[in-house]
Amino acid sequence: MLKISLSKIQDLFAAIAADEALYIPADNAGQPQFMRWQEGLAMTDALNTVRSAKDFFFPQTENLVSFKIQGKSIEIVDPRTETEDFVVFGVRACDVRSFSILDRVFLVDPKDTYYENRRKHGTLVSMACSRPAETCFCHTFGIDAAEPEGDAVCWKTEDSLYIRANTEKGEKLLEKLRPMMEECGDEAVKAQQEKTHEILGKLPLNNFTTEKFDGDVLLKVFNSDKWKSLSEACLGCGTCTFVCPTCQCYDIRDFDTGHGVQRFRCWDSCMYSDFTLMASGNPRTSQLERFRQRFMHKLVYFPANNDGIYGCVGCGRCLSKCPISMNIVKVAKCLEGEL
């Protein structure tokens, strides 16, 4: 384990950024979000960013292919240039876990080469939580907020930052940083973890569980009459899906640039009325069905197809951001009673 004084953290960032792009959570016009580090950019005190870290591997919009049109001729251009190496620093335990879920979608055959390319080039440095919020429920999915996954993991105490590598990529990064850090034991980290676990035990959602949901209850859950009241107030906006670290649906669209076409993909939301729209219409014609789809996917379909892994990491973003305060916790608690 390595250690560096918090007063020297900008030097640490400078050292990382010397070779590759570094992104840290910082405040942008009052909102915490990952921003490219440049001299002077400070880390936010906020628990988590509004948008998750999935943007780095699965950005909100991305060009897939370009068509250059001149007169009557069309030329097809692959817009990808070799992605540069980058480090995402300060990713919380919940967000780090989201990648193992996204990997199960994008890295199975046929592989999503755009996602894969970025995964290859990216190094994740996670950050343990010490002050979780009432909306947190990552433990529901077996995540330890005090011991995150990631290529390397950090703990921030009053005065120091502790860091440890988990993977080869992490080792490589630490190798570079070793000269400016000092080797140390893990006592301080252990102490913080103990305290964090104590706090986690006091959180209101401490006992929340999704255990009862799996493929076996599919029809029962699907046909529950609770969906009507649960979805009644849903505005059909995409807030929950867009702040979610595990939502992975996208749409592919063409943009006419005037001298060609850019075929790009962008995040889609199952809450939208034009989600999976086909020539014959949308298979889910009501907001109830669209609302149900999102929670069925996370609580039932995904675990049924992925060895019992839920499509949620308990980051709590949807709990604080939904305009009508409807969320996976309320849905699961309500439906649970039926099982």
Partner: protein, 664 residues
Amino acid sequence: MQKIGVFVCWCGSNIAATVDVQAVSDTLAKEPGVVYATNYQYMCSESGQNLIKDAIKQYGLTGVVICSCSPRMHEATFRKAVASVGLNPYMLEVANIREQCSWIHKDKALATEKAITLGRAAIAKVQLNAPLQAGESPVVKRALVIGGGIAGIQTALDIAEAGFEVDIVEKQPTIGGKMAQIDKTFPTLDCAACILTPKMVECSQNDKVHIYSYSEVTSVKGFVGNFTVSIKKKARYVAENKCTGCGECTTKCPMKNVPNEFNLGLDNRRAIYIPFAQAVPKVATIDPNYCNMLKNGKCGLCAKVCTAGAIDYKQQDQVIEERYGAIVVATGYNPIKLDKFEEFDYSLSKDVVTSLELERLMNAAGPTGGTLLRPSDGTHPHTIVFVQCVGSRDTSGCGKPYCSKICCMYTAKHAMLIREKYPDTEVYVFYIDVRTPGKNFDEFYRRAVEQYGVHYIKGMVGKVAPRADGKIMVQASDLLANEQLHIEADMVVLAAAIEPDKSARPLATMLTASMDTNDFFTEAHPKLRPVESPTAGIFLSGVCQGPKDIPETVSQASAAAAKVIGLLVTAKLTTNPCVAHCNELMCNGCSSCERVCPYGAITYVEKEFRMPDRTTQLRRVASVNPAVCQGCGACTVACPSGAMDLNGFSNSQIMAEVDAICQK
């Protein structure tokens, strides 16, 4: 995908001299969707049109782009041409590479590049064109003439003669207008009343002509062939159908001091009056501003003396609604107010008069019984000074920038008549130019100078100042002799500029007819369509369109009548298919479009819709009446959801043009 043909016109050298037409057709040939492109000397010529027709047949074109002069010039020509070989005429777009390109640019490279861009925009638009079908609407066989002066009278009589019903709306109690106030007419010097009054009588006796006197148009709705007009008949407190026009009441009314507007306030009339002896309709009218009975409920004398029992103090304004196929504007003119021209002292001296006042002072039916007398003391004037261009050709902002056209000739007439009747009177005319372009006009002017010895002096009058002894000092410059003149005059006559009647502006708004900055109605084309307004179904007659004399007015009046007759004999009109339409699936029924529609073309219906979730829903949606819609597009922008769109100028078409123009 459309199969588009592009036809680039040279317009002789008009386009070809500045635009490389070969490069334009070559480049546009490579545009997506273009299957044929060519250029030709005159696309609008018969052989040019044949070129287009042949290409449509040979290449199976579904869309045509013509790069030529303005679509305002030949769009209709080309539409007709493509329609003749079976292509929908609305599958054609014109790129304006003459007026908006070759004629304004000198650099051939730049102009060529711009022509290509304009061609691309037209191609982009035509890609999205859809065939449109013109609808039909019936024509109401009745015309409305607004204004009962000589222009309105002539138009009405000509229309009636062709067998159509025609209504005249006149705001004064009688028709006749300005011509009724005039004594003699130039260049023949025949009596105005003698030639006008028979026509007035004819109006009252022709059963196809209906006169709404003392009436005003208050609203106009509808469109060519189908206008609905509200006419307010102002209360005249005399039953028109009972009054015999005997005039007894007008002699018994005790209110004697009402300024007589027919004589321009030079004498007085009673509170109940008939404007003049030959008035049509010859019906008395009570002036509510002066009538004691109407103001205080005391008097009632006229009712007592009226043996026909026509007086009705309780009469109310009445609004009549009538439908017309065509409307003729003949609202005429007035001399401008002269308050601003302090140098002429018009408001201070009674003996400084306008030319129209002089007409009344010389008219046998006027305040002096036809003897020319000074209004101040009733003596014979011995020296009279005429000042020309008072407020005409004035760019100072005080008057009007245009030439009033009639003043030179009527002043020559006045000078001549005065010299003829009172040879002892010296007459001076100060002018900037003397303009006499008309048949026998210059001869007339020369007679005034040569035969009658009128002193014509090119120069400006600087100051008119009345003296205590009743003389008027006129200070002027003689530009030819280059000297200052001081004339002791007995009367000064000002040739005041003429301006359109004040009622014309609000009327133009009601008619949606355009006006120029001087409030003259704009003609559809200054040369080729001089008696039509750009608004279909609205025609122009007389001075409302621009200054003109009586012969010109009458010929224009007849021309307007001919146009009206041409319209009224048509059984059905084809309507413009470029109208708004509502995509009911997207319509919210919010009424925004209805509120901005100037024609009331949008109404709402409750309709049942099948929703995506297989339920049915009753929704309020907009519906456009294509016969009433004129295609302005106001609704398309008021509609937030974009449910309203416009045929021929759809959102996607305009955006495609924007894209094409901005592309490179």
